[in-house]
Structure formats: C-alpha cells, structure tokens
C-alpha cells in the first residue's frame, strides 16, 4: 500500500495504462510539458514521449474528433477536458460520433475512448470551472459515465475505463484531487470490483443516501453526524452513473425504506431524478417515504462567494435525511 492523493493515483493509473498498452495515447490541453493544470499527467510526457502524451491545440471538438479518427486507426485515446465547463464545444463529437459510431457502423468501429473531466465546484474558481454536466452524458445512449471519489478507486477505475471497449466519460472530483488515501499499486484489474458496480461505503439501517464524486466524503461525514443523533445512514457511492447499479441501491432501499440522493448538479433532469424514478418503479412497496433529492439549485453555477449556497453540504444533506424520516426539516409547514 502507498499513500497517494487522488490526483497522484490517477497519474499512477495512467502511467500503468500507457506502459501496458502501446495503443494508449493521452491527448489534451497542457497535459504534456506542464503535466496538466491539476498535474494529473505530471511527468508522463517525459516518460513516454510526445506521441504518447500529446499537447493539443485549444480545441475541444478537435481533441475528441481526432480521437475518433485515432480509434478508427486502432488507438485507445485518453482525452483530458481541462475543466467541466469546457466540454460543451466537444458536445457534438461526443454525442453524435463517440457515442453513436459503434451503433452506426453495426459494431465494426470500436471507440475505446476515455474522456477525463475534472468536475464540480467548491474550489472558489472562476465561472465555467465548477460545473457538473454528467446528466447530459448519462442521457446519451452509447456512453458509459463514471465518477470516482477516492484515490484507491481512481487508480483502478481509470485503468478500467481505458481498458473498456466502450467510450467512457470519466468524471474526477476536482476538489478531492488532493485528498490522500491508501492505494494498492500492485492491484490487478482482474481482481478489481467492476467500475459499473456501486459501493456501500458506510453501512446503515434507517436511510439510504446515494451520491458520487466529491459528495461521497460529505455524505460519509453526514452519516457520522447523524449517528450521534441516533440515525443510521447507509451511504452508497454510485461510481457508475450510466449504467446505474440499481441492484445495490435497490437492495439497500428494500432494507431502509428511505432514499435520499445528493449531487452538485441541478435537480431537473438530473441523475437523482432518474434514480428516484427507477427505484420507485422497482420497489415502491418497500418505500416508507417519497425519495428525496438534495441537489444544486437549477441555476447557472454562481460566483465563488455564493457557491456555498449552491453546493449540498453536510447540513443540507441532513435536512434531506430529516425530510425522508418525516422529522422537523426545512420543508416542515411549507407546501412542497
């Protein structure tokens, strides 16, 4: 075991993927000489050379589009989109090409492309640097959408994403890049938990709390706080947003009877909306209360000095838990 930050564990995972398969190439803005604005690709260009770790022009559609061509040629491109809010210029190439080409070509063209995206807020950034665009991609058939939350998972999941023959949009919780954790650098992919499987990170009995990315840590903290209050929360790290591991969530909800979902992204059409609907369809008769969503407001991401009012934090999550339990809460007496 080695103690690594999440960013360093991604770096280690990328290094391993580059070493294991010569068809793996990294492409992105500032990822080579600089090592990426978050240093996730630090040192990799020096180690593998400029045709394996490629500094690209400032052109997100160009990065994704050329990756499609590289996939046609048999490569396994790993793209870095520098910030969440910069992915939109590449939207057409992702949605119309990356997601659909295997289907359109009747299975002849494979797109083993990994699109790495630092996402979410909480770092006091300028606008367009704190977004949570995952629902757009979870809505798009043909993509797999993954969000890691901790160093150990990051090391394995980035390699699983690269090894996948399907395209993967891989969200990295940028405000947790510097969180440290124990990473088994000898871990083999064969023994690893598949990236499509959710993890129960805190067992509990009263409420199922589902989240992903940066809020996994917040949810765990909330569970600890609730325990002092006599409430037992089961925290699930979803890990895969498309497809969702409903089996794990459903098994938990059947025990607890209560479901709270939290994410930084807005509520409307979000991952939580889909999860609430699907779980309600699957085990309505086990629910003691309506599913509760604790999400960002449906607003453009606000300026840094206001972002604490946008991001679900420990107290807002616990308020959601109170709603689920029918205890006094922010909605008490308010017509929903």
């Amino acid at each position: 075991m080695t103690t690594l930050t999440l960013a360093k564990s991604l770096n280690a995972g990328l290094r391993r993927a580059l070493a294991d398969d010569e068809k793996v190439v990294l492409i992105g803005e500032d990822i080579g000489t600089l090592g990426g604005v978050f240093r996730v690709t630090d040192g990799l260009k020096a180690e593998f050379g400029p045709t394996r770790v490629v500094d690209s022009p400032l052109s997100e559609s160009g990065i994704v589009g050329t990756a499609v061509g590289l996939a046609y040629r048999g490569f396994r491109p790993v793209i870095e989109i520098q910030f969440d809010g910069f992915i939109y210029p590449a939207f057409d190439q992702i949605v119309s090409q990356v997601a659909k080409l295997h289907y359109r070509s009747r299975g002849t063209v494979r797109l083993p492309i990994t699109i790495r995206v630092p996402f979410g807020g909480g770092i006091g950034a300028a606008e367009h640097h704190s977004e949570s665009p995952e629902a757009y991609f979870a809505h798009t058939a043909g993509l797999r959408v993954i969000a890691c939350s901790n160093p150990a998972d990051a090391f394995i999941m980035i390699r699983q994403a690269i090894a996948s023959d399907d395209p993967v949009v891989f969200f990295e919780p940028k405000r947790r890049y510097h969180v440290k954790g124990e990473v088994d650098e000898q871990a083999s992919l064969a023994d690893a938990r598949p990236m499509g499987v959710a993890t129960v990170v805190t067992p509990g009995d009263d409420v199922t709390l589902v989240t992903y990315g940066a809020l996994v840590q917040t949810a765990r903290d909330a569970a600890i706080a609730a325990e002092e209050d006599g409430v037992s929360i089961e925290v699930i790290d979803l890990r895969s947003l498309a497809p969702v591991d409903y089996a794990t969530v459903e098994a938990s909800v059947r025990r607890t009877g209560r479901l709270v979902i939290t994410h930084e992204a807005g509520q409307q059409g979000g991952v939580g909306a889909e999860l609430a609907a699907s779980i309600t369809e699957r085990c309505f008769e086990f629910l003691e209360a309506a599913p509760v969503r604790v999400t960002g407001h449906d607003i453009p991401y606000p300026p840094a000095k206001l972002e604490r009012h946008q991001l679900p934090d420990l107290d807002r999550i616990l308020d959601g838990v109170d709603r689920s339990l029918g205890r006094p809460n922010s909605l008490s007496g308010v017509e929903a």
């Binding site: 022009p57 160009g62 589009g65 050329t66 499609v68 061509g69 040629r73 119309s96 497809p243």
Partner: protein
C-alpha cells in the same frame, strides 16, 4: 498555362488558379506542374476513368428512381460531381482511408462498396452498409464537417505507427464554415498529418450559395492554416487526379496536409427531398451542363483516335447492367429484425439496456400470443397481454 507558384518552402500552392488539363470541349491543356503527375494516363486509363464516371452517374440515376418509387427513403444525388470523386479516389492506395460525407457514392464505388452496401443507409435498414476496414472508407457522415477531424486523427495515428498511408477528408463548400473543419486544419497542420482536405465546392449548400460561406476562393483558406492550397477544375477528372496525387505524395513524404478545392457543381437537388428551382436558375444549370465532366473526356478520347461512340455504347450497356444489379440488390435488402434496435449500442454487456430489451421482448411476445389467440379461435384469450 499557369506559371507554377511555389511558396518560400518550395511547396506547390495555387489557390487563386483554376488548374485545368482538359477543357469542357475536350482540349488538352499543358501544365508544367501537373502534367508529370498524369503522364501514365494513356487512352486506356482515361477510358477507365470515363467508365467509372459513367457507371456512377447511371447508378445515381437509378437510385433517384428507386427513391421516387418508394424503395429508398432518401437519396443525395452526386450528378455533376463524378470527376471530382472518381479523380480523387482513383489516386488512393488500398491502405489509404477515405472519410466522406453522404454524397460520395463515386468514392464508395472506387473503394469497392457493393450495391446493397451503398443503399442500406438510404433504404433505412441500418446506419451504415459496409465494413469500413474492408473497404478503406469510413461510414457516411451526415454531421457536416465532423469527418474532417476523424480523417486528421487517423492520419496522425498513421504517422505515429510509421506508416506512409494517408487519409482523404471529403467535404463540401458549406462544411468550410463549420468549426470542426477549421479545427481539423489546425490539428493537421500542427501535427503535420498526412491528410488531404478535398473540398468539393459544388456551389450550393442546399439553398445557400458558396458566397455565403466565403468571400474568396476556398483554397485560399489553406494559407491561413499553413498548408498549400490548390484550386482545380473539379469537372476535369485528369486535373483532379493530378492534384490528388500531388497531395497524397506530399503526405506520404512527411510534408503534411494539402487543401484541394475542386470547383464543381451539383446538377441535381441537394437530396430527393429538395426543390432547387426555389433558389437557382435554369440559366445557371445550363451553364454548368456545358462543363460536364463526362463529355469532355469522350471528346478528348475521340481526338486521340479512340472510337468514343463505341466506348460510350459499351460503357452504357455495362452501366445499365450495374443499375439493374443495384435495383435488384435494393429490393432484396430485408427489413431488419425488431430486436436489432438494441444491437451494437455497446460492445460490453450493459445492465440498463439489457433490462429494457428484456421488457421489450416480453411486450412483443404479447402480440404473438394475441395473434395466436386470434388464429386459434376462442378459449385462450386470458393469457394474451400477460406481462
């Protein structure tokens, strides 16, 4: 006729010229830069280029008829652009790769795409008709300009593998306004990618004239991106062949991308759903009919002592046979199985989609039971529709 233009690095760049080796009336014009690239094209080879053009024109006519008769949902005719497509595609090697839009039936023909493979998309039975890796041509691209990036990425990969294969990106005048095309030109230039940007300027993007896309010859765009641009008569198959050979040779020698503007004309509608009489005149059409890519080759062959009338008859008979084959192949394309809608969305098993598929299988089965009930008379009705 045109003095050669070489930039500071010695690259051939003639963005303001109009390179023409065969005039519309079939006169052969000398060009010191381009002639050496087609010195091997004797009358037999020219006859073969004529054959290609005549056959794809006949196939195009047949496909339009098939659409009118309800056998195809849509067809984007290539009529008028035969020389641009045949001249460029016949310059390719087997291990090169074409990334086209949706009108490049002539390119597909040259890459060995079969009749049923060509029509699958337009009959609406699948989103692609051929295996790109068997044919060296990507599946057709409907998003305007998107394929130029794919060609560029493929070409970057080829150099990283040490191959001297090259890609050709086919796109139109309208596509030059898309951001993806500019991004592709930037990537290709920066990475010195072996890719030919082959722009068929057919004057119209549905109803919008090329003047709305550019205030200057499109080939001049190349200079801004740091690559040579060549403007060629796209209705002159010999000039197109020469220009494409020059560009592919540069690509193979590690000299990077070239932009070719093939000036041509779409004689037909944008697609069978379009009505071009709303936006262009009969006079304009007549003018371009006078620059037909096929008649000039026959005239040149006649001048060179070939029995062009005999060739025309012989090729017409062959083209009729190809059209008949296209028709029967089209009608024989079976409707796909309903559950194939779920095929190839993912390579790997996907729990979400498998669940939806399972539900839909059950749903469809309820109709089978209902049908069986109807066929078997009264008595078994209560089982029908069980979910």
């Amino acid at each position: 006729m045109n003095p050669s233009d070489r930039d500071a690095t010695g690259l051939l760049t003639r963005p303001d010229d109009f390179v023409q080796l065969v005039t519309p009336t079939g006169e052969r014009r000398a060009d010191a830069d381009f002639d050496p690239w087609v010195s091997d094209v004797d009358t037999a080879a020219l006859g073969r280029l004529y054959r290609d053009m005549a056959i794809v024109r006949r196939l195009d006519t047949e496909a339009t008829a098939l659409q009118r008769q309800g056998e195809l949902g849509l067809w984007p005719p290539l009529a008028g652009q035969e020389a641009a497509q045949i001249g460029s595609a016949r310059a390719m090697r087997d291990d090169d790769f074409a990334f086209t839009s949706y009108r490049e039936h002539g390119v597909a023909w040259c890459r060995g795409v079969g009749p049923a493979e060509l029509l699958t998309v337009w009959r609406g039975t699948a989103a692609s008709g051929w295996n790109p890796f068997e044919r060296g041509i990507a599946v057709p691209q409907i998003i305007i300009g998107a394929q130029t990036l794919h060609a560029t990425g493929w070409a970057m990969g080829a150099t990283w593998e040490g191959s001297d294969a090259a890609a050709i990106a086919y796109f139109g005048d309208g596509a030059t306004s898309e951001g993806d095309v500019s991004e592709a030109l930037i990537f290709a230039a920066s990475f010195n990618a072996p890719v030919v940007f082959f722009c068929q300027n057919n004057q119209w993007a549905i109803s919008e004239p090329v003047g709305l896309q550019s205030k200057q010859p499109l080939a001049r765009r190349a200079d801004g991106f740091g690559m040579p641009g060549i403007r060629v008569d796209g209705n002159d198959v010999l000039a197109v062949l020469a220009a494409t050979r020059i560009a592919l040779d540069r690509a193979r020698r590690g000299e990077g991308p070239t932009f070719i503007e093939a000036v041509t004309y779409r004689l037909g509608p944008h697609t069978t759903a379009d009505d071009p009489t709303r936006y262009r005149t009969e006079a304009e059409l007549d003018e371009w009919r006078g620059r037909d890519p096929l008649t000039r080759v026959l005239a040149l062959l006649e001048d060179s002592g070939v029995d062009s009338a005999g060739l025309e008859r012989e090729v017409a008979a062959e083209a009729d046979r190809a059209a008949a084959e296209l028709r029967s192949a089209c009608i024989a394309i079976a409707d796909p199985e309903p559950l194939s809608v779920f095929d190839h969305v993912y390579v790997e098993p996907n729990s979400h989609l498998e669940r939806q598929r399972t539900h839909y299988v059950r749903y469809l089965a309820t109709f089978e039971e209902t049908d069986a009930t109807a066929a078997g008379g009264a008595g078994a009705g209560t089982e029908g529709g069980a979910r």
